[in-house]
Symmetry: C2
Subunit: 114 residues, 2 copies
């Protein structure tokens, strides 16, 4: 089953931050990494991706710099800041809380397993 993007909403920035926790990255690469990790079930739309990068940079969670490619298209690399790392940990906790709450509420619909 593919992923309803309505359900991803609010996690886009956290997903990007998670990628940048490992290493600096550029938009196209980050999106391909997401596509691979999810076995093709999910990828961010470009408009979503780039506006999310913009928001994260405006918030001071990431900083950007142009790569020095001598060949191929230019790449804007992003690096996560300390503030971004802190934000990632907080957002992840918030996600875990929301996840538990939703799991509990959706389980209400099951006849027996309450």
């Amino acid at each position: 089953m593919s992923v309803a993007s309505e359900l991803i909403r609010g996690n886009t920035e956290t997903i990007i931050l998670a990628q940048l926790m490992k290493r600096d990255g550029y938009g196209y690469m980050v999106n391909k990494a997401i596509l691979n990790l999810t076995g093709g079930r999910f990828e961010l739309k470009e408009a979503t991706l780039y506006t999310a990068f913009r928001r994260l940079e405006d918030a001071g969670c990431i900083v950007s710099y142009w790569g020095d490619e001598t060949t191929g298209a230019r790449r804007r690399y992003y690096s996560i800041t300390d503030l971004g790392k802190e934000s990632y940990r907080l957002r992840k906790k918030e996600w875990e809380t929301a996840e538990a709450v939703i799991d509990k509420l959706l389980a209400e619909g099951e006849g027996e397993s309450i």
Copy 2:
């Protein structure tokens, strides 16, 4: 930790359907049930609640009728339809898929546990 409503987005209707799977209910009651189930960590805002009921009814997932209270404020009761039950099961599966995908993507930020 309270629940970031941005992360609930897209699950509101499923949460309501889950409540109605058990028994008919009215808006105020459904919201109090949610509040109790989550230990006060989450409740729907009224505007969100009633617009969600409206959407569900327009979609044929629920039907409504006025209760015959002889005392107290009038109550509009909602009953889930067969279509609504089917929709609940589908939405729940979609949630589980999304949940697994997000869990995996957010785990990327952890240094070791990949």
